[in-house]
Subunit: 616 residues, 2 copies
């Protein structure tokens, strides 16, 4: 939401950007951050009512300057939080334009995150298996070393001898003694050795963590490895947003130096550790019972997560350091699971088609060779794959963040108060908002539905121009704009508009997606009608109204029943790989099979892109 046109009256105006929500507001100098947040429709926790004693509304400065630290802040925050740069939103006010980070714990309402997806049945075959052991303790007539003692028991059960890193070995020795030589160990049975990855109390369930690391959103699933049950799950905003909204700006930030790149990694790993600890606490288990993990993300997220270089991903020909599946020690990148736990990262397909897409293809069943199917995973970058005659073609297209509400005048993410539907019924316009709260801005699905209805009513022409003279159009700075809501944000009393520029942003986004689809179809030599299954993935893809997406030309006009909206397919694929080594192998083969089509050098792409920008 942009308030750039706020008239100046008296005191200096200050612009505040709230991250990771991507919301901007302009307030008179002197207004507290809390007041500004309320104005922007952001519901900060303020238990004490903003008198500076509860410490709950803590935020962090990213850029700019704030008023000096007050005694109340010192008292409420304590030295640890102060050292981490926290301030109280109710006490601090900006002295310059600022960017403010709101940590998840300070937000009253979590954002709508997509966690559900298609599920399929498959046999459990986790990489890590449990072995319960009860050993006789050492004595003068039995001087075997601890590792030998356990290895020989495993040998009796038909497993090869144990191997492990030193921290795992140390934990084994300590826990065997603490637990009177009775425990459950978690091993990865290999050909020559059994890798020790965890030691748990006797008969406790082995746990795994699957995570989908999106550029914007992170989704986490804590899973029982022995029966596949999701014990608990949650979503978080990606903390890296504070350093760049999309992967391109994060690569630029990383390129500033080793420390910057390290910071992106550290913030992400810290968040994963915090979430893992929180999920474990929720279901009353110990984080070191997590003995395996799977992480999927686009190639840049994958590289930043592992500490691999990303500079080369920022310039053509966009080469990944690694495209093979990686199985690394979770400890090596600072993850606080069992010291022996591994982190599995499936194969990347290309610099802009990452392991998250591989996971989505797996979840979408692209290993069944006889299908003809398209998978569209909509995001800031939209990855598209087409399977036909046992072949897979993949591409990535820069659809931009418009569907997340960015670059849209009154755009916002799909949070409470966002207009998510605009329809024309009985001669008048009606809107609905998420959670039926007073309208604050408009989210991706809202603007999609609005444009669809504006096309139907002839308010927008086929080039995307708002037809002036139409009764629902007002002139804003001499340019026609559609009034979504005259009353605007609850505390802000300002209209919510859709401008010509907003429509253009959507045209760019939908044009990019449609052109990508068309290129793949052409490459395969088939038409839209030949494709049986159209799988639409991603949070936005789940909530979008198919009719609207077809109406604006983002998706082709095929029978609605051919579409399936699967939600977070990448997260589903990640869970499948956590639970089955066969799924890992299937995913590896999928990535190997996928033929990457680089659109930037594809001759006809530009032509198709321009065509696709128009409305029909």
């Amino acid at each position: 939401m942009t308030f750039d046109t706020q008239p100046s009256r008296g005191p200096k105006s200050i612009r505040i950007d709230f991250e990771p929500l991507g919301r901007r507001v302009t307030v008179p100098q002197g207004d507290s951050i809390l007041k500004a947040a309320q104005l922007a429709g952001i519901d900060l926790v303020a238990i004490c009512g903003g008198i500076g004693v509860c410490g709950a509304c803590r935020v962090r400065l990213i850029e700019g300057r704030l008023s000096p630290l007050t005694g109340a802040e010192r008292k409420a925050l304590g030295s640890n939080l102060l050292a981490e740069g926290f301030r109280l939103a109710c006490k601090a006010h900006p002295l310059t334009d600022v960017r403010i980070e709101i940590p998840p714990e300070s937000l009253n309402l979590t954002q709508k995150l997509q966690l559900e997806g298609i599920e399929s049945t498959f046999d459990l075959a986790p990489a890590v298996i449990p072995v319960d052991i009860q050993l006789s303790p050492p004595e003068l007539t039995d001087l075997r070393a601890d590792l030998t003692r356990v290895s020989q028991r495993l040998d009796g059960l038909g497993y090869p001898p144990l191997s492990a890193g030193v921290e795992m070995l140390a934990m084994l020795s300590n826990r065997l003694r603490d637990w009177n030589w009775t425990a459950r160990i978690a091993i990865i049975p290999g050909r020559e050795t059994s890798e020790l990855v965890g030691i748990l109390p006797f008969s406790q369930p082995l746990l795994g963590l699957a995570a989908d690391l999106g550029s914007t959103k992170l989704a986490f699933y804590l899973v029982n490895l022995e029966n596949g049950a999701i014990l608990t799950q949650t979503g978080r905003m990606n903390p890296q947003i504070a350093y760049g909204e999309d992967v391109v700006s994060r690569i630029a930030f990383a390129n500033q130096g080793v420390e910057s790149k390290k910071k992106l990694q550290t913030r992400l790993i810290e968040t994963v550790n915090q979430v893992a600890a929180k999920l474990c606490k929720e279901v009353n288990v110990n984080p070191d019972w997590i003995v395996d993990s799977v992480f999927v993300g686009n190639t840049v997220m994958h590289h930043l997560f592992c500490g691999l270089p990303v500079r080369q991903l920022g310039t053509a020909p966009y080469i990944p350091a690694v495209s093979e599946p990686l199985s690394i020690r979770a400890q090596e990148i600072g993850l606080d699971f069992s010291p022996g736990a591994r982190a599995y990262l499936p194969a990347n397909i290309a610099g802009y088609v990452g392991a998250d897409h591989t996971a989505a293809l797996l979840a979408g069943g692209f290993f069944e060779d006889d299908r003809t199917a398209v998978l569209v995973d909509i995001g800031t970058n939209t990855e598209i794959s087409l399977m036909v005659h046992g072949k897979i073609f993949s591409c990535s297209t820069a659809s931009g963040p418009a569907f997340e509400g960015a670059h849209i005048r009154d755009g916002m993410r799909a949070a409470p108060g966002a207009v998510d539907d605009v329809i024309f019924s009985d001669g008048k316009w009606e809107i609905s908002t998420i959670d039926d709260r007073p309208p604050v801005g408009i989210c991706g699905t809202g603007i999609l539905n609005a444009i669809s209805a504006l096309l139907d009513t002839g308010t927008i022409n086929d080039q995307g121009r708002l037809v002036s003279g139409s009764p629902w159009i007002k002139m804003e700075n001499n340019v026609p704009a559609f009034v979504v809501s005259a009353q605007g944000a609850a505390n802000n009393n300002r209209e919510i508009l859709i401008t010509r520029k907003d429509v253009h942003e959507i045209q760019l986004a939908k044009g990019a997606i449609r052109a990508g689809i068309e290129v793949l179809l052409e490459e395969a030599g088939i038409g839209t009608e030949d494709v049986q299954d159209w799988i639409i993935a991603g949070a936005f893809g789940t909530y979008l109204r198919l009719e609207s997406a077809i109406r604006i030309g983002m998706l082709p006009r095929v029978p609605l029943e051919r579409f399936v909206q699967v939600g977070n397919a990448a997260g589903v694929g990640a869970r499948q790989m956590l639970l089955s080594t066969h799924k890992r192998e299937q995913a590896r083969l999928l990535a190997e099979k996928a033929e990457y089509i680089e659109l930037t050098t594809y001759l006809k792409f530009t032509e198709k892109f321009v065509e696709s920008m128009f409305f029909q």
Copy 2:
């Protein structure tokens, strides 16, 4: 050297223990640490002559209190050294009894360290091999990931695909670009994958580090893995000495808590890193060209080095956490080599017979089944092995630190100024000192030779009593003592004596060693005359005079030509394992074959020990 009897005169007396040298001195309060060190015959670097400007005489407080920090110290040391707790010996004086650590760089004269040993010829077969690669850079028509690009080249050469940790992968990507896709990579070729352990400039030699981690001394060898040459080598005092003189006291220190145990590990790892960096600088190579390493030490050193628990090594039945050979990532314990380098730690035999003994057995040729041989590795703990009829019997005996000069009235380690020989010739006693410096104290070989001569002259009887009335005996506190040197330490003007208690310490030490030998012979059912080869290892074992050792009964009376003094056999074995995986396998089999005899529960040990304490 103990000055406990220093008369008090005026100001309070202060006792100072200097570590890691193990020297004690008593001085009047107000004397600087530098002055006290000089009094104790310790040659601290003092470039500026003790006026507090050069900062070279820096030392660190371990225990007790020092005078307040002076401005001169602040200026000379700088904030980094101050933060690490350094003080200037020339400016600080103790306020209480203190223990002071002298870092190696502050000592003018390095101690005599044993680095030479028996060498044997064997075929080079290092675990890590070099592969020179020159790759075509990525382009739009060749989008392979970096790892794929290298793997496919390896495939062309017949090696399996690459695997690696993430930091190694990151280095690979960066260096390939920096070096224009031309480099030498270091791999461990396995059955399924080639493990990437290093990336060097094209055609540079792969390096390895072998180290013998003794309780007291550390020995390091920087080796060219491709031709086996030792590029350079050095010795250091074990920095853990500051926290305990022997392994028992270090276990006690480690048991104080996680932080204490961590400190023992950290100090050791820091020293290894410093030495590795220094050795590399000496021969103008980069420490990250070190792509493999082998570390040997007794079981406690082994466990502390790796961060394994040691509590259970401190109480019967003295169970190691691990006795199997370990191949760990050097990075995992903080070693600054190539991020992919491994640290190989050979098998331990038992809680008190460690991997250093395994290495010594390897160097001593104990894999040749037809030999009858005894290996005695003399140290604070003396490990003894007997091979006969293809079997190996091993034990460990607490010979104590007397041979290192500890617990001896005027004892000291084998440093310049130590009396190392005492003979009776032409009716009078003559002494010699290391480096012909004025006598400061007496070292292990000195006291051994002295007692041998005292027995020959009848000055000591067969029970170890100094025969009063002998002309070379004076009464010291009503107990007879032998005057080694009337003039004593150069700056200290005090006699060097051998007391009844000193002789008793040596009797305990030699008795323990001899009893250990006798137990093994009895267990094997053979006599001393049946053993062909007597291999005497360890620094002290190299410098001792065999005739004296036989005279006092530490070693049995067999023909001198059956003895061989091999020096640091453990270090030689470590180098062999660095250069050959076959040697690693031989060592593994040796440790497996060795049958450990626990002396503390061996019925006849005490009897043999008491017998062995007498002189014949």
